[in-house]
């Protein structure tokens, strides 16, 4: 106890010494001590507690159980009749970033969307309104090896970009297989890769180069080499992949290309691999589960397909089949605007595959948290974890449910009772007034291939368009 208070003193001292805290336009002085009382608590990892209480202290979950009493100075929220679940973890999004694709080079591991976070994006608030508290915002899928992604906490209101970052989350990097890279480089520019073989070639070459770079650095440190190798931001990141410090998140649809990359990674001794989209994952679920020491993860859409040739062979049972075969599976939404109803997407696995409530909820909580290496902090309601909580009027897998409150680090960032029309943080002083009408705009849409091609939804269906680059 004494040690603990000493530590907290020390932490306070460090806090004071730190540069001015991030500016927060909405919740600068909001409390992060709460007692959420009399709710149905869906812990995801430790069952369900009826009439349960969750005590939040300093933004962390301090106690979970029944009849927890509120210490002095702790605000009480009466959640009777409501459901509390862990804040939803969105494993694949392109919101809250200024750039998506550096689509000029086949390998751009040196760039990172963490350098261009946009805390003003209203999409963050929209995600909060759907119970999302953590998002993995990603580089696009134009290049076989794209840029680094960033795991962010949805602290909507802060305007300092770095204040969105989830400190301590492992670094991740985007890889991409299939038609996006072959279409852009092969068909579009007559460069490698024109085929899936070419994609493999690009990845193998880059990893080989990174291995040599790492060896040269090692030799220099051991005194076996007079000079350090020429500095390369790109190869530093790929060396991090080879060392296992940086988790690879790979866009891919077809079974053959997923098998290909697993083989490549086995050759290079890379253990960390999560596939995204994985529409043909159901064909190779056992192989995915058997990859490396921990298996390869799969982050899938609930029931979206047919928007290009390589995604015709698909099924809504994908998530359930992968789950039942022991693959660590999550559901993502990818497209900004779709990040609001992940709970509904997860519920589809009960219609298509009969997953249990807990299995379905895991797809949007602890499973994506494991894929991102942050399961020790988020993804379930457990003492000691971050107080990221989503409150719903009904069971979150019910089609009648409505999100009520969303807590991020113990701070209420969305409240159904206080949800004014204009939640923007900034308005262009010269621009026109944006009306509160939602919908598709082909210019504003951030697709996974922003800047290269884009999905366009019309009354006649969804098409893939080239932007002419």
């Amino acid at each position: 106890m004494r040690l603990r208070s000493l530590l907290s003193l020390l932490a306070a001292a460090l806090w004071l010494a730190a540069p001015a805290t991030a500016q927060d336009q909405l919740r600068a002085d909001a409390p992060d001590d709460w007692l959420i009382r009399d709710a149905t608590v869906l812990t995801v990892t430790n069952g369900t507690i009826e009439n349960g209480d969750v005590l939040v202290r300093d933004g962390d979950i301090a106690q979970v159980g029944q009849d927890v009493s509120a210490p002095d100075g702790v605000e009480v929220y009466d959640a009777s009749g409501e459901f509390v679940m862990p804040g939803i973890v969105e494993s694949h999004q392109h919101m809250a970033i200024s750039n998506v694709n550096e689509a000029t080079n086949q390998v751009t591991a040196e760039v990172g969307v963490g350098d261009v976070l946009d805390p003003y994006d209203i999409g963050i608030y929209r995600a909060l309104a759907g119970g999302v508290t953590t998002a993995h915002v990603m580089h696009g899928s134009a290049n076989p090896i794209g840029g680094r992604n960033e795991t962010i906490k949805l602290r909507y209101g802060v305007t300092t970009p770095d204040a969105l970052k989830m400190d301590g989350a492992p670094r991740t990097v985007k890889f991409a297989l299939g038609e996006n890279p072959t279409g852009l480089y092969g068909e579009g520019r007559d460069q490698v890769p024109r085929t899936r073989m070419g994609v493999e070639q690009v990845i193998r070459e880059a990893l080989t180069e990174a291995r040599r770079y790492m060896e040269a650095e090692q030799d220099y440190q051991n005194g076996d080499r007079a000079q350090p190798p020429a500095h390369s931001e790109r190869l530093e990141v790929l060396a991090g992949v080879l060392r296992g410090d940086i988790l690879v998140q790979t866009h891919g649809y077809r079974a053959d290309e997923l098998l290909m990359l697993m083989k490549v990674f086995e050759d290079f001794g890379i253990q960390n691999l999560v596939f995204h989209h994985v529409n043909e994952g159901f064909k190779i679920a056992p192989e995915l589960a058997a990859f490396g020491d921990n298996g390869a993860g799969a982050s899938v859409f609930s029931d979206w397909w047919s928007y290009k040739f390589e995604v015709y062979y698909s099924t809504a049972y994908n998530a359930a089949i992968l789950t039942e075969n022991g693959v660590n599976t999550s559901i993502n939404t990818d497209i900004p605007g779709e990040q609001r109803d992940l709970y509904l997407q997860a519920a589809k696995t009960q219609r298509y595959g009969d997953l249990s409530d807990t299995q379905a909820l895991r797809l949007i909580t602890i499973n994506p948290a494991r894929q991102l290496g942050i399961a020790d902090r988020v993804g379930s309601i457990e003492e000691g974890k971050d107080a990221d909580l989503a409150l719903f009027s009904e069971h979150p897998l019910s089609v009648y449910t409505e999100p009520q409150r969303t807590y991020v680090d113990g701070v209420v960032r969305f409240d159904h009772e206080q949800d004014p029309d204009d939640m923007r943080l900034r308005v262009d002083p010269e621009g026109s007034v944006e009306l509160a009408r939602d919908g598709w705009s082909r210019h504003a849409a951030h697709s996974c291939l922003k800047g290269v091609t884009q999905l366009r939804a019309t009354q006649n269906g969804v098409t893939l368009e080239n932007t002419g680059r």
Binding site: P19, A20, T21, A22, Q23, S98, N99, N101, E102, A103, T104, N105, Q106, T108, E110, V111, G112, V113, D115, V116, D118, Y120, G147, T159, T160, P161, D162, R189, A226, Q227, P228, A230, H231, S232, E233, R234, Q418, D419, P420, D421, D422, R424, R426, V427, P429, E430, G431, S432, V433, E434, L435, A436, G451, R469
Partner: protein, 582 residues
């Protein structure tokens, strides 16, 4: 810095005469005849030596490019051109914290896109040109110089234009006859921007620009370390890689040269500050258009700050169906409700109205940015880069109206930039021994009806007392003067002829003068009261020439005032208002 040679002033005169038809023997102007003095005395002026430090009725003597003396009892030298300044105010010449004034960049040579691999373009295509110096792009004819000078700016921190690393900057006089003449100091900073390459090549996104910046910086660090080792003991060591793009960073790594970044939006500013904190380079930050969003961050950054003199344009209501544009006429914060919720989709109008008010409120924050920074204790100068020179004074007045103290505004134009750019010993105040950069006005500079009368740049006088930009007063019947006139100018070297054309109506009378050599110039400040026609001609350099003639029927007679003797001018109308030939 040498003072402007006499020969040059004479050259100006020659140029002026040239406009009206200088004789072919004009090359005589090359003779070094001391007919114009470079000594000036502003007598009995109100002298604002520095913000808050005022001398009433003092004399300022300018000699040989320097301020020779300032004070109430200063004797006027025998060779000085005396400017009676008893109704005038003298300020230190303003310093522009960052601009591209006087720069003419070469047209991009339109290289064949096909020859370039978008993923690996040559450095100049990628916008990596830190080895360029601004000197080679400077020209005294640069478009913005005249406008900025008229607003009172006499020197600026000028950099080449480009993308992520356009080159090294210089401290540049906003006046002079040649690029060499204009440069006070070369290479104070390396200019940088979070700006993608031209055309779709790497870096095509901001995140790639940032990555590229890190790459260059860290590789330069490695090379510098190797260079030190190599210098110590080259034997048995492979020679070092050489390229100017990395070498240009060495003084930055040593902390001698800052990276001067320009950015106006909060996101870019955060990204730049993040890079500085990560890599540790000395920073100069200019632009700051949305800095009211990030006062806390700026308080923690050790960098000279230069705030843009541009303000957001007033939005106008658009007729488009789906786009309403804010109405800023109402007091915004009074009515905007941040709690507003439209109860149903049928009441979108109330929501739209609230959104408009929000818009107006947000705009207000931009107008208050200068006051906000000042209130937070941040010291800043100004940058003209994004401002139209003709808007500068009005925007300063707006900033003052929104809470920026006048004294601070003046400091931000003079002493503060002098100090943060390391120029305090030479510039920023009206003190003997400093470079003669001065602004002379007929009242408080920040008052709306005050006019800039004279500007001294490096001791050279630019006279705006008969300012061409002043609106002329046309009260007489314009048909008496419109049409084409053949004029004859009597010069000491013989008569010169040319054509004068006047057209337009009462509200907008315009004119052109074509001299015997075919050079064309616009007439400015045209006044006509029915008999007296006057106008001025502003040569690209030097004082403006004012002409006043009396019109009688289809002839006129009058004088042209020059810095030397006045010249007689006569004219005859050859065609009338509607092109009718006489």
């Amino acid at each position: 810095m040498t003072a402007l040679p006499l020969r040059h002033c004479l050259g100006l005169l020659g140029l002026c005469l040239g406009l009206l038809g200088a004789p072919p023997t004009a090359h005589a102007q090359d003779y070094d005849v001391p007919s114009v003095t470079d000594t000036y005395a502003l007598t009995d002026a109100r002298v604002v030596q520095a913000p808050g430090q005022v001398l009433e009725s003092a004399t300022v003597v300018v000699r040989d490019g320097l301020i020779d003396a300032v004070g109430p009892n200063v004797e006027v030298p025998y060779d000085a051109r005396r400017i009676a300044a008893d109704s005038l105010v003298v300020y230190a010449g303003f310093i522009d914290g960052f601009s591209h004034a006087g720069i003419e960049m070469p047209d991009s040579d339109g290289e064949d896109e096909d020859d370039v691999d978008p993923g690996d373009p040559p450095p100049d295509r990628a916008g990596i040109q830190p080895d360029r110096s601004v000197r080679s792009f400077l020209t005294p004819e640069g478009s913005d110089l005249e406008g900025l000078r008229k607003a009172g700016f006499t020197l600026g921190h000028v950099a080449p234009e480009g993308q992520m690393l356009p080159g090294t900057s210089a401290y540049v006089f906003y006046g002079g006859a040649s690029a060499d003449d204009m440069i006070l100091e070369e290479g104070p900073a390396l200019f940088a921007q979070v700006e993608t390459a031209d055309g779709y090549v790497y870096p095509a996104t901001e995140m790639a620009v940032i990555a590229q910046m890190r790459q260059l910086y860290r590789e330069a660090e490695r090379r510098q370390e190797l260079a030190a080792q190599y210098e110590n003991d080259p034997v048995g060591t492979k020679r070092l890689p050489q390229d100017p793009n990395h070498s240009a960073f060495f003084p930055v790594l040593n902390g001698e040269t800052p990276l001067a970044f320009y950015a106006d939006d909060a996101l870019s500013l955060h990204r730049i500050v993040g890079l500085k904190q990560e890599l540790g380079f000395p920073l100069v930050l200019a632009g700051l258009g949305e800095s009211h969003e990030m006062v806390g961050t700026l308080q923690d950054v050790d960098a000279p700050l230069f705030l843009t003199l541009a303000l957001p344009e007033e939005p106008t209501r658009s007729a488009q169906q789906d786009t309403t544009v804010a109405d800023t006429t109402r007091t915004p914060s009074e009515y905007y409700s941040p709690e507003f919720r439209a109860p149903s989709y049928e009441q979108v109008e109330a929501e739209e109205e609230n959104l408009e008010l929000r818009h107006a409120m947000q705009r207000q924050e931009y107008l208050e940015t200068a006051a906000t920074l000042d209130g937070a204790g941040l010291q800043f100068g100004f940058t003209s880069r994004e401002a139209s020179p003709s808007d500068v004074r009005e925007n300063l007045r707006t900033m003052i109206a929104q809470g920026l103290p006048e004294k601070t505004a003046l400091a931000a134009l003079t002493t503060r930039p002098a100090s943060s750019l390391g120029l305090s010993a030479r510039l920023g105040t009206v003190e003997a021994g400093k470079i003669a950069n001065l602004v002379v006005t007929n009242g408080n500079y920040f008052a709306e009806d005050t006019k800039v009368q004279h500007v001294f740049v490096d001791g050279q006088l630019y006279d705006y007392s008969t300012d061409a930009s002043e609106e002329g007063d046309v009260s007489g019947d314009v048909s008496k003067v419109t049409g084409t006139w053949e004029y004859t100018l009597e010069t000491p070297r013989g008569d010169r002829t040319g054509t004068l054309t006047l057209e337009g109506d009462q509200s907008e009378l315009e004119g052109t003068l074509i001299n015997s050599q075919g050079d064309e110039s616009e007439l400015q400040s045209i006044s006509f009261d029915g008999t007296t026609l006057s106008f001025t001609i502003q040569p690209e350099q030097g004082p403006s020439l004012s002409t006043t003639v009396t019109v009688e029927g289809d002839t006129f007679e009058g004088t042209v005032s020059t810095p030397g003797p006045s010249l007689t001018i006569t004219g005859e109308r050859t065609s009338g208002p509607n092109g009718s030939t006489r």
